[in-house]
């Protein structure tokens, strides 16, 4: 039986219930868990989501966006041969 998980439980904990998961031995996935069953339907607390998102935002700062690179790549892709046409989805 899967234990009850309160909606406000820390999401990292709620997804690691011992009865539901087993630790992965693969070194690439050592920090991961295999979930044996559907994820709980309870909404995640927004604070946990924000904390996780903030960590990503801080981490991606090691790769600051380069607008010039975006411009160069758009130019290159636009110059590639195009497949298919543009056609209306609604009949006039």
């Amino acid at each position: 039986m899967i234990p009850y998980v309160p909606a406000y439980a820390d999401v990292a904990v709620s997804y690691r219930l011992p009865a539901q998961i087993e630790q992965v031995q693969d070194p690439k996935l050592r920090q991961s868990s295999v979930l044996l069953g559907k994820p709980p339907a309870s909404p995640q607390p927004i604070s946990a989501l924000m904390e996780s998102a903030a960590a990503y935002v801080r981490a991606i700062a090691v790769l600051p966006a380069d607008p010039e690179a975006d411009r160069r790549i758009e130019e290159l892709i636009s110059a590639q041969p195009r497949r298919g046409t543009r056609r209306p989805l609604r009949r006039k």
Binding site: L35, G37, A53, A65, I73, I77, Q80, R86, L89
Partner: protein, 185 residues
């Protein structure tokens, strides 16, 4: 009792330092393709970051407000959440088209792609068995709502990201949505 494996997901990440290291490692990997992909048999039927193969135009609203079908695309990147594939109340997922650049890609362009400093695009290296004649680049600006059933009926998962590539994709998506637009620079 051991319940049969139905799905797999990675836990949320809160440690920016760990993410930072992971991102650096994959971006600097000498063999990007080898570090980028995992077995498609590991995990559930469809996961965020999967590369799907199916041919479709990109449905768009054009510059005069008309719904149009644009071009033909063979490969798509799943950006919708993995957990939505297991939820009955979520019918849709989101995919973005993978545009092609003919090989050989100019040196500067390959440096740009491999640097992962593009705000609106995401470079996907060749996976085992992929067509080596083109380089594939996802376009975050053209997300498409796709019924989840398509992912398992019409489409085929041809490649699945490793954990570190998934972290990189996740970070790139958050940067795309939360980026500074330059007004205050």
């Amino acid at each position: 009792m051991i319940v049969p494996l139905q799905t797999e997901r990675w836990p949320p990440v809160y440690d920016a330092e760990d993410l930072n290291r992971t991102i650096r490692q994959i971006v600097e990997a000498p063999d990007l393709s080898a570090a980028f992909f995992d077995s498609v048999t590991r995990g559930g039927a469809v996961c965020q970051g999967d590369i799907l193969r199916f041919t479709s135009p990109v449905p768009l609203i054009d510059e005069i407000g008309e719904a149009v079908a644009d071009g033909e695309v063979d490969f798509w990147l799943v950006i919708g959440n993995t957990c939505d594939f297991y939820r009955d109340d979520a019918k849709w997922t989101q995919v973005v088209p993978l545009d092609t650049i003919a090989q050989p890609v100019p040196e500067q362009a390959m440096r740009d792609l491999r640097s992962y400093r593009l705000a609106r695009r995401f470079y996907v290296p060749s996976w085992p068995g992929a067509d080596e004649k083109v380089a594939l680049v996802a376009d975050f600006l053209r997300p498409v709502a796709m019924h989840k059933a398509t992912a398992t009926t019409k489409a085929r998962v041809v490649a699945r990201l490793s954990r570190s590539a998934w972290v990189l994709l996740h970070s790139a998506l958050i940067r795309f949505l939360a980026r500074d637009d330059g007004r205050f620079a």
